[in-house]
């Protein structure tokens, strides 16, 4: 017993040291800084500056609006694509190629992907050219520097996550349950709504949570596609550290961002747990 405790200690030594020194303590430092003035006195005024000010709430509202819309669109677009990959594609090699197409963007820097959209969404970019050519619009639409542009970029970057999580859930649905439903006279739509969709709900939730938490803390995509005209919370926090050098106020912004992210993850895991309980109850 003694030797096994000792082995455990050896195994845990490095992970514990590294994460305490370079993760927990730094986050603690930020938390303390957010609660102090420049001279080290305790204060709540940094949070007051963040939470009692109309401008900040406007930024928080933009951040949330973008995150919520990205999550909804990612699920709505991701579900059919996941369905297609799992249920419709019959040819193995084509499915493999599709999965590679799905993962390739994930392995490419946000910069490169946003850069592609900067080219596509410009005044004379391909998107405007196509819309003008088809005759849907008469004058080029301004995408760059608007929330729509950022939304297109965010959805693009986060979509693979929902496709992968929903696809995994779909692949695990027991086909006999759907067959049973059809045998009992339910139509395809009814079967989907009362059998398949509920069984993939945890995949939808998992994907949605990843997308929301990444969208709410996204920095690169909004920074590049906003052209400085739209501000999200992560951009505001970064400014304090990179140009303003107000670590106390920046700390309060960081902790606010962190709290929103963790609250969201907490709520979604709580909802998933409730869902599991309900299933057990039935």
């Amino acid at each position: 017993m003694f030797t096994s405790r000792l082995t455990l200690l050896w195994l845990l030594a490095l992970p514990l040291c590294v994460f305490t020194a370079f993760f927990l303590i730094p986050l603690g430092v930020v938390f303390v800084a957010s609660l102090t003035t420049q001279d080290g006195q305790f204060t709540l005024s940094q949070y007051g500056r963040v939470l009692l000010d109309g401008y900040h709430w406007q930024v928080i509202a933009v951040t949330f609006r973008l995150a919520i819309l990205s999550t909804i669109i990612c699920v709505v677009l991701g579900y059919p694509l996941a369905w297609y990959l799992v249920r419709i594609v019959k040819w193995r090699s084509w499915r493999r190629a599709c999965v590679i197409m799905l993962i390739l963007p994930l392995f490419t820097s946000n910069i490169v992907r946003s850069f592609g959209w900067m080219v596509l969404l410009g005044r004379t970019g391909l998107v405007n050219d196509a819309l003008l050519g088809v005759g849907l619009i008469e004058r080029p639409i301004r995408f760059l520097g608007t929330e729509t542009g950022i939304l297109i970029g965010l959805v693009y970057i986060l979509l693979p996550f929902t496709v992968l999580t929903i696809g995994n859930a779909l692949a695990r649905v027991e086909p006999s349950l759907e067959h049973a439903s059809r045998d009992l006279g339910a139509g395809p739509l009814r079967t989907f709504c009362s059998i398949t969709f509920p069984l993939t709900m945890h995949g939808v939730m998992a994907g949605g949570t990843i997308v929301f938490s990444m969208a709410i803390s996204a920095y690169v995509t909004p920074a590049l596609l906003s052209g400085g005209k739209v501000t999200v919370l992560a951009m505001l926090a970064f400014q304090q550290y990179s140009t303003v050098f107000d670590f106390n106020y920046g700390g309060a912004l960081s902790i606010t961002l962190l709290t929103f992210t963790m609250a969201l993850i907490g709520i979604s895991s709580w909802m998933t747990r409730i869902g599991v309980h309900e299933k057990k109850g039935n």
């Binding site: 455990l8 195994l11 845990l12 490095l14 992970p15 590294v18 994460f19 370079f22 927990l24 730094p26 986050l27 430092v29 930020v30 677009l77 059919p80 369905w83 297609y84 799992v86 249920r87 499915r95 493999r96 599709c98 999965v99 197409m101 799905l102 993962i103 390739l104 963007p105 490419t108 820097s109 946000n110 910069i111 490169v112 946003s114 850069f115 592609g116 080219v119 596509l120 391909l126 693009y156 979509l159 995994n168 692949a171 695990r172 086909p175 990444m214 709410i216 803390s217 920095y219 690169v220 920074a223 590049l224 992560a234 926090a237 550290y241 670590f247 960081s254 961002l257 962190l258 992210t261």
Partner: protein, 257 residues
Amino acid sequence: MIIRLIALTTLAYLVLPLVVVIGVSLTETKFLAFPPQGLTLSWYAVILENPTYIRSFLTSAGLAALATMAAMLVALPAAIAMTRYTFPGKSALSAVLLSPLVLPHIVIGAALLQFGASIGLVRNFPALLVGHVIIVTPFVLRTLLPLFSHDQLSQEEASRDLGASAWSTFFLVTLPQIKAGLVSGGIFAFITSFINVELSIFNTTSTLNTIPVQLFNYVQYSVDPSIAAVSSLTILAAAIAIILIDWLIGLDFLSGS
């Protein structure tokens, strides 16, 4: 039919920007043009002659390689401890070690900058490295955790009973079984580090820069097709990594029923 149409359109949407970036890198014009006007590789020559790009590329590659190796050294013992032992605070430990996956990287970066400033760990290579180790360790850990099975335990016991030492048991019995997972987790870790901006941006300087941060700085102020050429090279690197993973573990995981 409608699903097929939506799915294929969505796939096209996923590939389009990457195609555009590669297309732009081949244009003969001095401005970004898509579809490219003429075909040339001269923008690739431009970046290969630019020492700052080469240096950033080497910094990024070295950083990603070292961070991945360090992450393996941190994640492997943690995974063994978490799957083979019961101890108080185990779930808290796993939550902490996996949390960089979901926490805003910009906050982790800011925290490391502020903390690092007090101990001189700023704007140098070690400062970049510790940050990257923190964010890539969960990727390795996550692929390792499901690989330690119960069968292995009895095989290890058999090995020990036959007189092998703990180390040779690890290298001869345990390691071969988790090797594929270690490698694929390692590739995920490498790529995550290689494309990171949010963390690196706090600790890069004009002489110590990573490829994504350099691109980020350029793209915001001036754009010419050479940036598209650098971007295309990173897309190529990503494609190679994916082919490697596909070859190692197979990417056909969406084929269920």
